[in-house]
Amino acid sequence: MSAGATTLARMSTLSRDEVARVAALARIDLSDAEVDRLAGELDVIVESIARVNTLDLADVPATSHPLPMTNVFRDDVPTPPLPVAAVLAAAPASEDGKFAVPQILGEE
């Protein structure tokens, strides 16, 4: 096994702790059972998709978008926005024409 392959094999091991860490980054509460299951499943998936690194990609540019496009700007013409009531109708909670949300800043 080459040195590169050894590195890949090590990288593609997704531990329980790693899944819990990434789930916290993604802001998803998982039960212990979910963490166990996902660690097993994702380990298999990551090992498979890590095959992209078996290709020689040194001189290949990255593609982020399928078709060449350039940004364009439209004229800045004001148009009526959605009515506030229509938008707030779908909100979990609202107050005085605004979204009501849980505390955002920590208590000091």
Binding site: M11, L14, E18, V19, V22, A23, A24, L25, A26, R27, I28, D29, L30, S31, E34, L38, E41, L42, V44, I45, V46, S48, I49, A50, R51, V52, N53, L55, L57, V60, P61, A62, T63, S64, H65, P66, L67, M69, N71, V72, R74, L82, P83, A86, V87, A89, A90, A91, P92, A93, F99, V101, P102, Q103, I104, G106
Partner: protein, 500 residues
């Protein structure tokens, strides 16, 4: 006259124009059909009967008044639930959006409404379009009309099953890695993924923005062309929308139906044929090649050496983009909000609790995979490498289209599998899209045309064309469809079980 629900959209549109049938009659027939069979199929999450009939009455009145209408005016349509519809619940198959009533229409829905197509309702799908079987819907499975114990494909299994079961003549789907074409293949229907950017995505709930594309789901190639022309074209509200006008798709479909493919160069993709493909699927594929050859096409084999890496690159790029796109489901402005059962109640803990309860297994799997692929220390090895493989796939397509006019393959490696068969094996589920994913990575268009049965279940023939050459899909697809129907004496879909 055959039952109204059995007519193609084009045939129904002709009867509407001639006055033989009214839109109210046609719409009511489809609503009745939904009432009769959808208990078995579960293709619809919402049926909007009142609004559909109101549109139908309006179109009938305007037609009676002599107004010039869109060719498809009055023909009913179903819309995949990932496309937002004003005042009609839109969930994307997720509990996190249960009960959400959008305050606006997607551009394609606006175009459907302006053209006067009654919207029958919203169709079932894998949650946020993540899946190949519609088993990841939070609202129950959709069943394949050919065999109710089998999957209808995914993520757009609801749209494909609705069309296959004669609940709707037309439907809208979306295709990020095959979610229009693979359900088309396993339900014996036609599905088209247009060139990336050629159909507006304003109002589509995004999964992977560099891959997502809406398109038509129908029973005939001509119907797909008619619907594609209706929903396509530039939209200033979508920054990825292509400004160019594309060649006429309806003309291409009509030309194809004359069954002359003299001089057309067809490339069979070596890497999308052979190991991993069911023997019967390959047999139907080879028979279809013979029909193309008999119509004058030159068939050659073309290698796309990096296609075997497409699935791997896709399962890095798509989850990475999805993890970012789905960050907006945070329990703050719309949709579900869940408070944590213990500890402080802050925006952060509410977001985590909401997503823990509101997202299903596959969505969690992909968001975590994508977050991992983008996280510090892994970005270059995973996401960065996948983007480079994407370049190689695009080069494979460019090299292939320098040699041939279209590429062909089986759409899906197998016919419809049984419900629950692959639910516990995500990697096996992902392999269903092995032949459809390359086109999404390259932004090129593709169509699936039903090309026969294998042990009583449909198989699909995929045609791929260069970007902005969607007309070639319709020419070749319509030619194959016509040749097959001539051989069988009727369209494949006529063999689907009655269900009542």
């Amino acid at each position: 006259m055959p039952s109204i629900t059995r007519l193609s959209a084009d045939a129904l549109a002709q009867k509407l124009r001639s006055g033989e049938v009214t839109s109210v009659e046609a719409t009511q027939c489809h609503l009745d059909r939904i009432a009769d069979v959808d208990g078995k199929i579960n293709a619809f999450l919402q049926v909007s009967a009142d609004d559909a009939l109101a549109t139908a009455r309006d179109i009938d009145a305007r037609r009676a008044a002599g107004e010039t209408l869109h060719p498809l005016a009055g023909v009913p349509i179903a819309v995949k639930d990932v496309v937002v519809t004003k005042d009609l619940e839109t969930t994307a198959g997720s509990k996190i959006l249960e009960g959400w009533i959008p305050p606006y229409d997607a551009t394609i829905v606006e175009r459907i409404k302006v053209a006067g197509l009654p919207i029958l309702g919203k169709t079932n799908m894998d949650e946020f379009a993540m899946g190949s079987s519609t088993e990841h819907s939070a609202y129950g499975n959709t069943h394949n009309p050919w065999d109710l114990d089998r999957i209808p494909g995914g993520s757009g299994g609801g749209s494909a099953a609705a069309v296959a079961a004669f609940e709707a003549p037309l439907a809208i789907g979306t295709d990020t890695g095959g979610s229009i074409r693979q359900p088309g293949a396993v339900t014996g229907t036609v599905g088209v993924k247009p060139t990336y950017g050629s159909v507006s995505r304003y109002g589509l709930i995004a999964m992977a923005s560099s891959l997502d594309q809406a398109g038509p789901v129908t029973r005939t190639v001509l119907d797909s062309a008619l619907l594609h022309e209706l929903i396509g074209g530039h939209d200033p509200r979508d920054s990825t929308s292509i400004p160019d006008a594309l060649p006429s798709l309806v003309d291409a479909a009509r030309q194809g139906a004359t069954m002359d493919l003299t001089g057309l160069r067809v490339g069979v993709v070596t890497e999308l044929h052979g190991d991993g493909y069911q023997a019967g699927v390959l047999a139907r594929f080879d028979e279809s090649l013979d029909l193309l050859r008999a119509m004058g096409a030159q068939i050659t084999e073309v290698s796309c050496p990096h296609f075997p890496y497409a699935l791997d690159a896709y399962y890095l790029i798509m989850p990475a983009e999805a993890s970012s796109n789905l960050a907006k489901f945070d329990g703050m402005r719309y949709g579900l909000r869940v408070e944590p059962t213990s500890g402080p109640v802050t925006a952060e803990t509410v977001m985590a609790a909401t997503r823990g309860i509101g997202f299903g297994d596959e969505v969690k799997r992909r968001i975590i995979l994508g977050t991992y692929a983008l996280s510090a220390g892994y970005y270059d090895a995973y996401y960065g490498s996948a983007q480079k493989v994407r370049t190689l796939i695009q080069r494979d397509f460019a090299d292939a289209f320098a040699q041939v006019d279209v590429l062909v393959s089986p759409t899906a490696p197998t016919t419809a599998f049984k419900l629950n068969e692959k639910l516990d094996d995500p990697l096996a589920m992902y392999l269903n899209d092995v032949a459809t994913i390359p086109a999404n990575l390259a932004g090129t268009p593709g169509i699936s045309v039903p090309n026969g049965l294998v042990d009583g279940l449909p198989s699909g023939f995929q045609i791929l064309a260069p970007a902005k050459a969607d007309d070639r899909l319709y020419r070749v697809g319509a030619a194959l469809e016509a040749a097959l129907e001539k051989q069988w004496g009727h369209p494949l879909i006529a063999d689907v079980p009655e269900l009542v």
